[in-house]
Structure formats: C-alpha cells, structure tokens
Point group: C2
Chain length 342, copies 2
DNA sequence: TGTTAGCACTCAAAGCACACGAGTGCTAAA
DNA sequence: TTTAGCACTCGTGTGCTTTGAGTGCTAACA
C-alpha cells in the first residue's frame, strides 16, 4: 500500500471526524501535496479496496469501517496529553474514593463528560470474591433483611417477608450455620445443589427457614452476576450518527453489554460495530482499556460512542485514566504490604 | 357556559386524544347534533374563551391546557374497569413484594407498560422513620462499611476508607455508643449539631472516629432525603409530543421531580405543565394518586406523560393501583394488630 | 509512466410554481 | 338561532428547474 494513499486515507478520516461531512478531493488537497485529480484517482482505488465509500455518486468519500480500522491501527497520531490536560483529568478523578467501584466510576463519569459518549466500567472482581459475611436482621413483623458482604467489600441486601416470625433460637441457629458454612465460599461456586444440601442440614428448622434460604440463594446469584456501571447514556441519545430506537434497545439490554465486557481484554482495544456481530449499535465503536490491581486485571474502563469520534484525543484520556486507576490501586497494595511488614 | 359548547369541547378533546390531529367541525358533527357551521361558530367562541386553539388558520382545533383542565375536571367520563382489566392489573402487581417500595414499584412498572408513559413512586415514609440500627463492619485493610437500618426496614450502606485501622476496642466503643445514642432518633432530626455533640463525646477516640462519623452523617442525610422511583422513562423519549432535549434535562433532574412529589396530595390530582411553573416538560401532564398505610399517606403513585393522554382509561388504572396498594398495606396492619392481641 | 488540467457528467438539495383539500369565517336565507 | 353556501386561507404534496459540490475520464505534459 502506497504511502500517499495512506496519507489520503488519513486525511479523509481526520477531516471526516471533525466535520461529519463526506470529504472531497479538494479538501484533501490541503493536506496532501498532489492535485485533486491524482487524489481522485487514489480515492477511487481506496474505495475499490474497501477503505472508503461514497454516500452517492457526486459526493465526497467517507471511511468504511475497514478504513477506520486501518486508521486506528496504523495511521492515527495520538494527541499527547498536555500537562494542563493531565491536571484536569486528575481533578476529575476521585482519588479518595473508598472503593474500586467508586474510583473507576468517577473516571467513567469524567470520560463521558469529556467525550460526550457513554462510558462503562466493568469489574472483573466478582470472579475472585468470597463470601465474607452473611447476616439475617429482623426489622419488623415477619420482615427480615438478609445481608451479604464479600471479601472485597461489596455489600448487598434483600428484604423478605415470611409467613411466620422466627424465634430467637431459629435465628441464632441460622446465623451460626450460615457463618460456619458459607464464609469463605467463592461466590461463583454457589450452586443450587449446595443450597439443597444446606436445606436438608437444617433439619427441624427446614420448613421455617426455606424461604429465607431461597432468598439468600438468589442474593448470592445476584452478587456473582457480572454487572456494569454506565455513565453518560444520554449522550448517546443526542448523537445523530445513531438510530434513536436502536440506542434505547441497546441501553435496555444491560445483560448483553455486561457480557460483551466480560471477555477481559489484555490491553487497549478498539472494536467497531460490524465486528461485534449484531450486538452493538450500528455505526458505533467501543474502546476499552483494562485496569489492574495486584498485577491482574481488576476491571475494564470503556467508551461507547459513534465510529466518528476523536480517537486521537480520547484514547489518551482513556489510557491515562486506566493507568491512573491501576497506579492508585497498587498504591493501596503497597500500603498493605508495608503494613504486613510491621 | 352553554351545554352544547361543552359537548363540542368534549368531542374535540376525545377525538384529539385518539388521533393527535387537529379536529375539524365535520368530525365533531358526528358526535354533536348540529350543523358544521354552528359547530364552527361555537368553536370560534371556545377559542376566544381560551379552551381551544388553531395550529394555523385552515386547520382544525386542538385543546389548550385550559381545555384539558375543563375536560378532566368536569367533562370526562371515566371508563370503568372491566373484570378482565382488574384481573390483569392484579396480575401485574407483585402482591408478595417484601417491602412497600417493591409493591409500589411493581405497580409503577405496570403503569408505565400499560400507558406508555413514565411512572413514579414517591414514598413519604422517610419523614416518619427512625434509626433502628447502625453498624460498622470492617471489611479489609482500613476499609469499613457503615450500615444503617430504619424502623420501617429501609437499609443503606456506605463504604469508607480510613487512614489508619481501628482497634477492636475503638470499634466496640463506637458501635456501642452509636447503638445507645442513635437508635430511635427520627431520621429527619439528624443534624450537624447533633453530630458535633457526638464528636465531642467521643473524647480520646475523636481523632480516629471523626471520618467514620462524617460518613455516617452523610449516610443519614442520604437516607432521609426524599427519593423517587422512576419507571418507563424511555417511553417519554419516544413520545413525539415532547422535545427530546427537554426530556433528557427533565430526567437528569431527579431532585426536582422528587421535590414536586413532596407536596403530598390528598387525593387524585392532575396537573399540567403550565401550572407547574417551568418545572415539567412542555405539554406534559402529571397525574398522581396517593396510597395510604395505617390511615396516613404512605406515598404517591404518579404518571408522567403528554397532555394528550387517555385520561378516561388511565386514571382508573392509577386509582385502582393506589387503592389496591392501600388495601394490601392495611392487610399487613391488620395482621400486626391481630398479632398484638395474642 | 505517473501526474495534472480540463471537461462532461451525476445527483442531492434547495427553490419554485402549482394544485389539492381540509377547514375556516362570513353572509344571507330559513 | 340555525344553517347552507361560498370565498378564502394555508399546509401539504408534486413535479420541475437550478445550483453546486464532487466525480470519472481523457488528453496533454514532465
């Protein structure tokens, strides 16, 4: 592939990203030293090769997704972050956040504001988390709250109403049993059978405790389910590159989005909707960057927007945030190690 | 006001609600026995009086908000619920919901699906709820979860990270102190001063416990803050009577919505956007119906949609749900009373 | 052989004229 | 007071033309 042709492709994508209008040969001429005729010839070839397309015969060219692919993989020059930008990004990150989720959440919010796209945080922690505490708290007539805390500090609760009040004895037995038998179990190993076993182990208490138990089971399931955090969804709604109805469908389908982010990526990844077999919104691109803790991937920070997006600017943002999160999380690690030495 | 004129107004609103198109004199003729000329004269007067308007000279009439006001207040005939409809509504209500919120939430979801509008639940419970339990749970190096449960079974938690780990002694002291001094306090009486007092009462422990304390304070504030539950927001987005951007702004502003629902209404209320001084979306109407528990208002079920909405059908839905919720909540009361007699 | 100037061609978008028709207000007769 | 009739209004839809940005192709040029 001719270097001039690459330059032309680059110029077209660069320009199209800014204007959103099909790019003609004259416009490209400003950036590539060749006559418009030459550029036209080259563009015709780029079209044959599948990197550009024409909305209609007498219009300029716009990049195809193959064009974008080539652009982001080899042509694009990233805008390095200025010191002011770094300062700004830092100020938007809540470095004092108590939890990993909050930290990443603040990055996600910042990203969505800066890019006018939607931003996602997907934590991969559930896989490694153990049940740390289970508690049943009576809160009123026949009302009980079940509380579950995991080893990494995530907490969730469920309220349930029983047919009869439990005696103190029953409650104590249940609490003790759960403490002895569930603590330390990895969340994703919780299974139906396991709970069947517990149920039989309840003996005489079985009848009265079964409803609590099944709520507890579904609570565990909910906690082990991969979930994501979405910020700036509304930015997508006002994006004219997208079809309204499609976005609403997409946003309704958190499960699918979570599944997409489940494949943990090793580094920065850019994927375009045609590559995500029907999952994503048409004309969308998803950029993801993982962040790490203790050397292993702790989650993924993602950006969902149109294909026509300022990659050169936004990718550094994303990378900076994911790096910063990784640093902050490992600082915590360091603290902990230091403590251990005492 | 002439009875024929009222009939004409009613016919116009009825028709416009169905078709969404300006209604002409010929169409009205089908419902009112008078010639089109007479109807035109009357409509011209209704326009002068501010009940109808014309999008342009040669178009039919559409109701103004004054027209809608008159319609819902005196003209409209509600469609009574058929037995099948009642059955359907019942099946959509989660009567086994453990909490009031879940129960009302299921009604809200059902409403939003049936009406293609957004639906709101606003609980007025926070006002009457007391702090029932406060617990500090260590979950890792310097990580603590603060848990707060109210007398009516609402639960919320906050994670916070401290500079130093607390000793068991400190933790026990804190837990005991909180249990003795916060239990039974009404949530809305929690004040800055109160926490200042607690802080001084901490004595030697003050330094280490202050961060936890301030998190606890903000947790209490969050819990006493009025919040609402919104369902079917996306229905508004696809409603062509609304301006996209305005809806997005509106939905972003939960605080405002919550405030609106804070004025507890005594019965069914219908309000139109011009009456809500700039708060609501243009051309929107908000219908609210309170539900009760133990004789006093426990919350409000609301419907947010365009002014052009099938009032005759949807108001009975809303009323049925709020009545049903009231019944279910008082059944619980009854149970409790019965228990108390034992 | 690659590049460029020039030219004919294409086609979406914008503008314009026109007809249509739904609906009106007004007038005059019943 | 009601109604039939009529002239008038105005948004909508249709077809036509113009405009201009942009193209592909060809022939001349370096």
């Amino acid at each position: 592939m001719d270097s001039r042709k690459l330059k032309i492709l680059q110029a077209v994508v660069d320009e199209y990203i800014v204007t959103g209008e099909p790019v003609g040969s004259k416009t490209v001429m400003k950036k590539v030293s060749a006559s418009s005729a030459t550029i036209r010839n080259e563009m015709a070839e780029l079209e044959k090769q599948g990197y550009l397309e024409q909305p209609h015969t007498s219009a300029g060219r716009i990049p195809t997704y193959n064009g974008y692919r080539l652009y982001v993989d080899t042509l694009m020059e990233r805008d390095p972050l200025s010191d002011e930008e770094k300062l700004m990004l830092n100020s938007m990150l809540d470095e004092n956040a108590a939890t990993e989720e909050e930290l990443a959440g603040s990055a996600s919010l910042a990203l969505s504001q800066l890019t006018k796209c939607a931003s996602v945080v997907a934590s991969s922690t559930p896989k490694f988390s153990l049940i740390a505490k289970v508690e049943v708290i009576p809160t009123g007539k026949r009302m009980y709250i079940i509380l579950m805390i995991t080893s990494n500090g995530r907490i969730k609760n469920k309220t349930c109403r029983l047919e009869f009040d439990l005696t103190n004895e029953q409650l104590e037995f249940f609490d003790k049993y759960l403490d002895e038998n569930l603590k330390g179990i990895p969340l994703d190993e919780v299974s139906e059978e396991m709970f069947d076993n517990i149920r039989t182990a309840m003996g005489a208490y079985m009848m009265s405790l079964t409803p609590l138990l099944s709520e507890l089971f579904s609570l565990a399931k909910e906690m082990s389910a991969k979930d994501i955090m979405l910020r700036g969804e509304k930015n997508l709604l006002t994006c004219k590159d997208f079809d309204q109805a499609e976005i609403i469908d997409f946003l309704d389908n958190r499960r699918e989005i979570a599944k997409f982010f489940d494949d943990s990526f090793s580094g920065l990844q850019i994927s375009f909707s045609p590559e995500n077999d029907g999952f994503a919104i048409r004309n969308s691109s998803i950029i993801t960057a993982p962040f790490k803790k203790s050397g292993r991937t702790a989650g993924t920070l993602g950006l969902i927007g149109p294909m026509r997006i300022d990659y050169a600017k936004f990718i550094p943002y994303l990378e900076y945030f994911s790096q910063r999160i990784t640093d902050l999380l490992s600082e915590q690690d360091y603290d902990e190690d230091e403590d251990n030495k005492e």
